[in-house]
Symmetry: C2
Amino acid sequence: MNEETTAHTLKAFDDDLNRLRALISEMGGMAEHAIREAMRCLVQRDEETAKQIVKDDKKIDALEIETERRAIQLIALRAPMAADLRDVVAALKISGVVERIGDYAKNIAKRVPQMESRNIEPLSLMPEMARIATEMVHDVLNAFVERDAEAAREVFERDKKVDDFYNSIFRTLLTHMIENPQQITEAAHLLFVAKNIERVGDHATNIAEMVYYAATGENMAERLGQ
Amino acid sequence: MNEETTAHTLKAFDDDLNRLRALISEMGGMAEHAIREAMRCLVQRDEETAKQIVKDDKKIDALEIETERRAIQLIALRAPMAADLRDVVAALKISGVVERIGDYAKNIAKRVPQMESRNIEPLSLMPEMARIATEMVHDVLNAFVERDAEAAREVFERDKKVDDFYNSIFRTLLTHMIENPQQITEAAHLLFVAKNIERVGDHATNIAEMVYYAATGENMAERLGQ
């Protein structure tokens, strides 16, 4: 290949990879929205919208299949080497993580019909916890699109807040169960909801580590001495 | 390339892919063992071994990184096309799922110190549930190594048993909580353990779908009319 062809091939690869990143970012937007909406449905006992969230998860699954198809095509057509190949593999993995975040939204939405009473006090803390976790997802996917290692690191450090929320909600729910045994089933469902949101935060930090590694070649956890 | 070179390249690719499959199978063996051991630790309140399981999860994580490294190398060196490339991507994804099964074992092991009493009746059902789920993992990874679509389908259908176990344990734990409020914290931890094992079964069915698709080119869920 002469220089011009090489430049053309590189440009084509970058364009393809950017389109792949944009698709994953779109998927991420759907997953964030689904988490926040599922949480709203839980608080407001909105069973109709909850059903729609469960159905709409198929769209996120379809986007994962689409990103996988495109990533495979990109590898086959452009034969990327070394760092470029690692970038495509990172995109593939991140798309898988976003699909799992969508699954958590579906899981939360499925529990909405189990909520018979609104007066479970720990429930009032959960939308704020979900807001922090979905913001992490949003910001880490921006960092991925922008290849911004610093922004990824910043998301990574925010996870502690979500974990603190989770521990507080866990304890509050157990106390609620002891004091209100007639609401034990609902409180048990809320334990799983809180755990799902805590996992969304974990997944955002996993993505942050992948973005950091792809951008710097260094392992973030080692860098931060964790 | 002449025919001999092509045959040689194909053979080299198959050898590499088989080594990758063997590595994932080894990882799977470690994850199964970790789940069963974590469950034993929970029943016998063996905190020492539980700590070791948490530590050993790093070995499973390291094997995932190793399979990823080898898969990327395989793609870069052998430039597989179409079905072969999909096979490598499937191996990458399956290795990610096995790593998550290892995480569930770690999660279960971390709950061992929370178990203060042995007489929580639903706990007695859980090792059998774990046995069924880990057998599914074992059998589906064999199906992956053997490229056996029929064996993968058979594993897929076994997941119903795990789900039935989960539903039964969930109800039993809630009843136990109502009747023994002083054990509510331990019972809550067991709810999560039961959920983790239910997820191990789900992951085995996910792998089964990937193996079936890779072997037949058909979507198993559609084929079974689900």
